[in-house]
Amino acid sequence: MISRQLSERIAFGLIIVAAAIVILPIFFIIGYVVVQGLGAISWTFLTEMPREGMRAGGVMPAIVGTLLLTLGTAIVAVPIGLGGAIYLSEYAGDNATTRAIRIAIINLAGIPSVVYGLFGLGLFVIFLNFGTSILAGSLTLGIMTLPVIISTAEEALRAVPQSFRLVSTSLGGTRWQTIQRVVLPQALPGIITGIILGVERAAGETAPILFTAAAFFLPRLPASIFDQTMALPYHLYVISTQVPGMPIQIQYGTALVLLVFVLSLNLVATLIRRHYRKQRVW
């Protein structure tokens, strides 16, 4: 029989170790990528086309492609996601329809990203004949991002005190006026954070764009949304596995660019949240 004090100490120790293990990988991953890849980063690397079978030159088209796909994802997912969240939070009661919608959202979040890719290939690339394109990739990534945006936005909307809605209604406001003038502005920081986190996830995905948008090697910028494009995550996959004699530094340099892009989005989300939390009156 061990004493209660001893078991307390053991439990505390184990929990501390677990917490530390959570922190370690992020330092290792970032540290390793920076050490290995920083040497590759230069103005040329960021602004030039890849050359010599991607073994030299830069990653500019992949950066531009990822930016475009991220933007496209947001354009697809934000209006639908926000609309859905507003409906669920402000209009829908608790009935069979809304329960079905919620179950759909949960399941949507659980679908593996490669399945989204296959779905995008079938629906957007082939059936709707968009071809392998930024459009098809954005639509696929957009659908994949919907659950994140809907759930975070709904949570942000629900956090707005009910008393604001009551006051606005009592002064003759319609439901939509109340949403527009009070609820949405108050929920906006939370909504923006959710959008950024959802889109950031999409920016780093490879599988959904594998069949729908990504080009193996395309040393020019896309001409329209019907054009295919290079993208950082897929480019990283290609140069890490498909190109023999690839300099390690270029691989990690590419990884570093992707990491910085995604982490800056993360940082922006955090800053927005902090800024508005300080201003919030409720």
Binding site: V167, T169, L171, G172, R280, V281
Partner: protein
């Protein structure tokens, strides 16, 4: 019941029954009148249905989960519970102030004109004039006239509550309903609000749920005693508080329960 001629009826409540889906606070067969230019007091222990009645009058309870609702509420003779009644207009005619002051997260100025903005008023002169009039009527103008663009949350609790009164007054309602408006206020702020009510009743009809029996007795022209969803007694204030007809009313106002 007193013998004096009665004031004009503003709102007539006929056999009103209300029940919430979750079984909390309900109203059973309430019939009474709200008189024009009087302070009509609804009082009694909590859970008696007073707030529910207020929120039935301007149909704010449309937002709540009401499972059962019968009877009629006649505002100037028209049944506001009718399906096709213009609810938005109704809520502009019957202003409400809640127990806890709820300034909207915007400036003092924007709070006051919020209702006008909803109605689409854009004329700057009209808005400015309304802000001054409403804040004066709410006895807040002198304290805030030089900082109208400050956040409403910079005001003290008592000021916030007077702002909420002013915000209702901005719409020039016919009836002002107050749900324990002084429950969170100190005695001086409470006194100010009560004083304001005495002035307001000249232009408006007042319905108030007071936060204590003492307050009810101080301000009531007409008083209705509610107990667990029943209207026990309804009479002129000085009659009800000096010579109640029902034993339960007497027990409550003398402090034997509550």
């Amino acid at each position: 019941m007193s013998e004096n001629p009665r004031p004009d009826v503003k709102i007539r409540i006929e056999h009103l029954n209300v029940r919430y889906s979750d079984g909390t606070e309900s109203l059973h067969d309430i019939s009474m009148d709200i008189y024009t230019h009087q302070i009509n007091v609804l009082f009694g222990p909590s859970g008696g249905g007073k707030s529910t009645l207020l929120r039935m009058l301007n149909r704010l309870n449309d937002l709540a989960d009401v499972s059962e609702q019968e009877g009629r509420i006649l505002l100037d003779g028209e049944n506001v519970l009718a399906r096709d009644y213009d609810v938005l207009q109704l809520r502009r005619r019957l202003g409400i102030v809640f127990a806890r002051p709820v300034p909207l997260p915007m400036s003092i100025y924007e709070n006051v004109i919020y209702g006008l903005r909803l109605a689409g008023v854009r004329d700057k002169q009209q808005l400015d004039a309304t802000v001054e009039r409403a804040l004066k009527q709410g006895a807040l103008w002198d304290e805030v006239s030089d900082r109208l663009s400050d956040s409403a949350y910079d005001l003290s609790g008592g000021q916030q509550q007077r702002l909420c009164v002013a915000r209702s007054l901005a719409l020039q309602p016919e009836v002002i309903m107050l749900d324990e408006p002084t429950s969170g206020l100190d005695p001086i702020s409470t006194f100010k609000v009560e004083q304001t009510l005495q002035q307001l009743k000249r232009d408006y009809t007042i319905v108030i749920v007071p936060h204590s029996v003492q307050q009810a007795a101080r301000i009531a022209d007409w008083a209705a005693f509610f107990l667990q969803g029943d209207l026990i007694e309804w009479d002129e204030g000085r009659q009800l508080f000096t010579d109640p007809q029902d034993q339960r009313t007497e027990d409550y106002i003398t402090g034997r329960f509550g």
